[in-house]
Amino acid sequence: MTRIYDASADATTRADGGSLLQVRDLRVEFSSSSGRVHAVNGVSFDVQAHELLGIVGESGCGKSVTSLAILRLLPKPAGRITGGTVTFDGTDLLHLGDEAMRDLRGRQVAMIFQDPMTSLNPVTTIGEQLVEVVQAHTKLRRKAAEQRAIETLELVGLPNAKARLKNFPHQFSGGMRQRVMIAMALIMGPKLLIADEPTTALDVTIQAQILDLIRRVAQETGAAVMLITHDLGVVAGMTQRIQVMYAGHIVETATTDELFAHPRHPYTVGLLRSIPRLDEGGSRELLPIEGLPPDLTRLPAGCPFAPRCAWAIERCLTENPPLGLPGSAEPATGVALGTHLAACWNPATDDEARAGVPANGHISAVEAAGRERAAAAATALGVEP
């Protein structure tokens, strides 16, 4: 925890940071028929070498878009990076030449996608799909590239690897296909592995195996892992740090233990309350988070979570809180990586987090405003509220 975290993009970060990946104030927009979609709205974070970082949030919160933006793989021409910097190993990725960027993909930073069925080319053999990665980045001959493919498949635990090079994706089970995807990502020994919902499309029984595999191979190859998921349960046992994203913002970040023990942001509290836990007895009720994520074409002025938040106060409706020390109104600068930060004007206490609701019958500002409007309407109509 000696690294320095700095939310602003200044020259000093690089000097004392030295993180493998530094993302600063990243902004991504999509143009759509219903207007501009603000998918990522100023996201800053670091990934250190050999670290396992979890990024958690509902679908549409910008976690996948962030990872695609890092590799400049946003769908063109709809997706656009509108601001911020991405620095990998000292290289500015957003201004890197196309050819250098191509060579970096797959070699230095590799990705695993959600659905191994649709993410593998159905009409070429998996051997071909592995070999072509090696050939895109080295001058190795085919035989040597094939040897490397076999070794990598053995690393990810694919039985009978040599014979299976000739097989097509549809000849594998879902779990085996994801192993092939992982082998494809690891074949060049990348420094950073971005796993975007790697287990979501798999059977529950296979999920744990694949997560174990990712953790094991990351350890063996020394790759850092950015594990993106909507499931806090997935990251719980795996990562050192977790970042929670909502509506294109990072709303809370802490070490994994800290986040589970002392969630501060009401959204994190909601996420934790909506997954079953065996360690708290059978009496604990599962509480879903009411409502839907905001329309990213028209973000509200205040905190994007306020409309769904039981803790909301007046200020939440007008001012978006910065990511800072819980309870502080200032954005955090120069704090150690792993420091617990939350973007909230009225963070939950430990007791509230355990209960899943605010203490002392707090009425959320949104609900209060709604009641006020109802009362005003009733008065205007001359009926008793």
Binding site: L73, R105, R107, A110, N121, V123, E128, A136, F168, H170
Partner: protein, 337 residues
């Protein structure tokens, strides 16, 4: 795979049986018969009766059909009522002309249509894409007889660049009718005469353009939509994330998958063209099967129409079979049982 092919070929039997029945019924529902065409408008009823007896047209319909089918089973497709040449002989001399024309037209359609469709897809909604869309819509909608006449007028009559009729210059060259009748092959490989080959190619250009325009437009449209669909597939994103070069992504991942629907369309179009391009062959006096069948229809030449339809139906089925087999090769998820 072999079992699949055999089964598909066996399927030809009911198809041909049904087709031959339909042809006989339809042909005899039409007014007139070959004798009217042979003897002309000044024929007497006695003449016509004698002619009908000679051709066996006075027998009951079922008897005519059975006689005809008995011949077909023995490989005898009958004799033309008008020129007394066997249908098989006529077909074999004319089919090479149709094959040459079809191959040239499809060569244009594939060689231009696929690159055009790919280029349009990669620049979706650009000026180029819109231009290509409009051009292919025009290509699909323009009637062949109009396009053919337009080409003849502009490049033949007006500019004097290209010949407008026939397969070769009758005044300069002659061909052995016992040969293969593949004139491109004959002129270049057998006769080894470059001037002759050039002459044949020049004669081929306008009809090939006229015939190839619709398939070209269809292939371009289907390529554009197939490539657009594949471009948004997850595995293309994977290929980019792997750091492959864009050429490799296009060739190995995009085109290889887009070829599945494209190949189906190419096969169907080829099958259709092989059936004889009646309009194109008529306009350009091209001695192919389309021209031949058209004349047979005018003359009510029953044997030619019936047998021609059977042979063309068989060819269509075989071409489609070849497409299906090729499809299995392109798409490993399909293995025919």
């Amino acid at each position: 795979m072999l079992k699949f092919i055999v089964r598909r070929l066996l399927l030809l039997i009911p198809i041909l049986l049904g087709l031959s029945l339909l042809m006989v019924v339809f042909l005899h529902m039409l007014p007139g018969d070959p004798c009217g065409a042979i003897l002309g408008e000044h024929s007497t009823p006695a003449n016509i009766a004698r002619c009908q007896h000679g051709l066996g047209l006075d027998k009951p319909l079922y008897q005519q059909y059975l006689d005809y089918m008995a011949g077909v089973i023995h490989g005898d497709f009958g004799v033309s009522a008008t020129n007394k040449v066997s249908v098989t002989t006529s077909f074999l001399t004319r089919f090479p002309a149709t094959i040459e024309l079809t191959v040239a037209a499809m060569f244009l359609a594939i060689g231009i249509g696929i690159p055009l469709g790919v280029a349009a897809a990669k620049r979706q909604y650009s000026l180029f894409d819109n231009f290509a869309t409009v051009a292919s819509l025009i290509g699909i909608s323009i009637p062949i007889f109009f396009l053919g006449l337009l080409l003849q007028y502009v490049f033949g009559v007006w500019l004097h660049w290209l010949p407008t009729a026939g397969r070769y210059d009758l005044g300069t060259f002659s061909y052995d009718h016992a040969g293969t009748n593949f004139l491109l092959w004959e002129s270049l490989v057998i006769n080894r005469n470059p001037a002759e080959f050039l002459d044949v190619v020049r004669h081929l250009i306008l009809p090939a353009v006229a015939l190839g325009t619709i398939p070209l437009a269809v292939v371009a449209r289907i390529t554009r939509s197939a490539v657009l669909e594949v471009l948004s597939e997850d595995y293309v994103r994977t290929a980019r994330a792997k750091g492959l070069t864009s050429k490799r992504i296009d060739d190995r991942h995009v085109l290889r998958n887009a070829m599945l629907p494209i190949s189906t369309v190419i096969g169907l179009q080829t099958g259709l063209l092989l059936g004889g391009a009646v309009l194109t062959e008529q306009i350009f006096s091209w001695g192919g099967v389309g021209n031949w069948l058209f004349q047979a229809a005018v003359d009510k030449d029953f044997a030619v129409i019936q047998s021609g339809a059977l042979i063309l139906a068989s060819i269509f089925v075989v071409v489609n079979l070849i497409v299906d087999v090729g499809y299995a090769y392109l798409n490993p998820r399909i293995r025919y049982q």
